[in-house]
């Protein structure tokens, strides 16, 4: 019996009084790798904000670890889309990962045991994203791919059971995007951390996924990739004829859906 991490029943979310999407039903289990796909402004980030307890649903029920979502849930690791790190930020990467582990504490680490626990968790997180050698590198001097790995280490340092990654592939070229997906996939499998990854392109992800949450046109379709990413299912979702084409490598092209989203970026 899979362990349930998050569940939504007839969930509806609004942004500034306008409904973004409604009637979402999904279940995320421990150790599942889930892609959240959809056009820009479909409300993918809103789903994360719901899970983080930063906004409340208009209708329906959302349970995270069996409870209503609440802010500051230490079992959730989060990598937001808009990380601001400019070239002047001359702070070594390991500091950010350390803050990811215990930055929400008021008092600095005073006992040796806490200092050691933090150092070990930080080193482990950096190693598991393949960034041990980046520990002393300045954040401002990093490439997009390096930064994404540091943010990932920051998010997993406190050993979350649910990982939310908002568009981590957006600024990466195709090769780096695939490397990051491989890395996230490895983390999902080795740590059994349920992971939701927001992306607008499913192709770099498609070989690793357990589930897809597809948001478009104010509606949400969830299920196995093979169930959701079909001409029939996406036509029903968008409400206009949409066609899913496959190329020889197993990549997908979705034709016809891109004009049908309705709300600005939420």
């Amino acid at each position: 019996m899979p362990v349930e991490i998050a569940r939504a029943d007839h969930l509806e979310v609004a942004y500034r009084g306008h409904p973004v999407w409604s009637d979402a039903n999904f279940r995320v289990n421990r150790g599942e790798f889930v892609a959240v796909i959809g056009p820009n402004g479909a409300g993918k980030t809103s789903l994360f904000r719901l899970l983080l307890g930063l906004i409340r649903p208009v209708q329906g029920e959302l349970r995270v670890f069996g409870q209503a979502p609440h802010r500051g849930n230490s079992k959730i690791g989060y990598v937001p889309q808009t990380h601001v790190v400019d070239r002047d930020t001359n702070v070594e990467a390991v500091q950010l990962v350390r803050l990811g582990f215990s930055g929400n504490r008021w008092i600095p680490n005073l006992t040796p045991a806490r200092v050691r626990a933090e150092r070990e968790a930080t080193e482990e997180a950096l190693r598991s994203v393949g960034a041990a050698e980046l520990a002393k590198k300045s954040l401002g001097a990093m490439s997009g791919g390096e930064l994404q790995r540091i943010f990932l280490a920051e998010a997993i340092a406190a050993r979350p059971e649910l990982l939310l990654l908002d568009e981590p592939l957006a600024s990466l070229d195709l090769r780096r995007a695939r490397e990051l997906v491989e890395l996230v996939h490895t983390l999902v499998r080795t740590r059994e951390v349920a992971t939701l990854l927001v992306a607008h392109d499913i192709n770099p992800l498609i070989r690793c996924l357990d589930k897809v949450i597809y948001i478009a046109n104010g509606r949400v379709a969830t299920g196995l990739p093979s169930e959701v990413l079909t001409t029939e299912s996406l036509t029903a979702l968008y409400g206009v004829p949409v066609e899913v084409l496959h190329d020889s490598r197993g990549n997908l092209v979705i034709v016809g859906g891109e004009d049908s989203h309705k709300d600005p970026d939420a």
Partner: protein, 326 residues
């Protein structure tokens, strides 16, 4: 300005110091200056990290109006300074999470506040010397009461900053994640602005509102070029502020020029040297004076590839035909 040119200076620095410390105003200057440099050094790191240097500049100017108003109404100018900077600091904190993108709003309020300062200045006769010391600072004019004020405000600020240090660092570096972790980023921003307001109010007595950058921004701007670890950067920032304040006060005792000039100049020279360090070291290397690093063979593609790139081996690298899914 106190003219101290009757005292002759000597290459025996210990002797010089002993001569200086016989004077109460010098002891006051060193005591207050030390405390102020510590607070300013710590706060300036957060100013640089949060890119709030414009807010720091603005608070200084607003403080001028507060001090001018206080003098007009016969109150200790320090109270006016503290009142105006803390209220404005709270206002800037309320404007937005980070003040870095609020230049227009801050600047608009700033112009109005300076106008008020001008009004106070015009309304008060014989105000020129007071105004001069608020604008440019007068470390040797610090009296016992001001030393006491400095300690009374600095110590609580340092204690509060020590308590919120980790959270504030986190909220400054990665605000969105901090917020998602349930941290009160708005409250942290407010605490920061209030700490900055106090730091500026006390630093004005040393350096003046016009030169406030030299103590509340530049020490950390120097430090972040030398250290990547926040704790080290703060230590360097405090050290720079302390050195400049001490050395400036020391030199000014024997010279006619104002103390603030020496403090600002010392900070500026250190800043220029630190900025020039990369050129100096690469210049030395090209002249063959410094130890040569083993030459790295450039990659054929031109751009040097760092060994740290490339997470997973065996990832197929030839998927050039992936179609975009929208």
């Amino acid at each position: 300005m106190t003219n101290l040119s009757w005292v002759w200076w000597n290459w025996n620095l210990v002797y010089d110091l002993r001569v200086m410390l016989q004077y109460e105003f010098v002891r006051n200057a060193f005591e207050a200056g030390t405390m102020i440099a510590i607070v300013a050094g710590v706060v300036s790191y957060l100013v640089v990290l949060r890119r709030s240097s414009f807010a720091s500049h603005a608070l200084g100017h607003v403080g001028f109006s507060g001090a001018a108003g206080a003098v007009l109404f016969g109150v200790n100018p320090f109270y006016g300074l503290l009142l105006f900077t803390t209220v404005s600091g709270g206002g800037i904190a309320a404007l937005g999470q980070k003040a870095s993108h609020r230049d227009v709003e801050i600047g608009t309020v700033l112009a109005f506040m300076l106008g008020l300062g001008l009004l106070f200045l015009a309304a008060y006769n014989g105000f020129a010397t007071e105004a001069y010391s608020i604008l440019f600072g007068d470390v040797v004019g610090i009296d016992n009461t001001q030393v006491l004020f400095t300690f009374e405000t600095s110590i609580p600020v340092l204690i509060v900053l020590a308590l919120v240090y980790r959270q504030l660092l986190f909220a400054s570096l990665d605000e969105e994640v901090a917020e998602a972790k349930g941290m009160h980023t708005f409250l942290l921003g407010l605490i920061f602005m209030l700490a900055l307001a106090v730091a500026i109010s006390i630093a004005v007595t040393v350096i003046g509102v016009l030169l406030i950058f030299a103590l509340t921004v530049t020490p950390a701007a120097i430090a972040v070029r030398l250290a990547k670890r926040p704790a080290y950067a703060i230590a360097i920032s405090v050290a720079v502020a302390l050195f400049a304040t001490w050395a400036g006060t020391f030199i000014a005792f024997f010279e006619v020029e104002p103390t603030s000039f020496f403090i600002v100049t010392i900070v500026f020279v250190i800043y220029v040297i630190v900025r020039a360090l990369p050129w100096i070291s690469s210049g030395l290397r090209s002249l063959g004076l410094a130890s040569r690093r083993p030459a790295t063979a450039p990659f054929p593609g031109g751009r040097e590839r760092s060994s740290s790139e490339g997470v997973a081996d065996g990832v197929p690298r030839s998927h050039a035909t992936d179609a975009e899914l929208t």
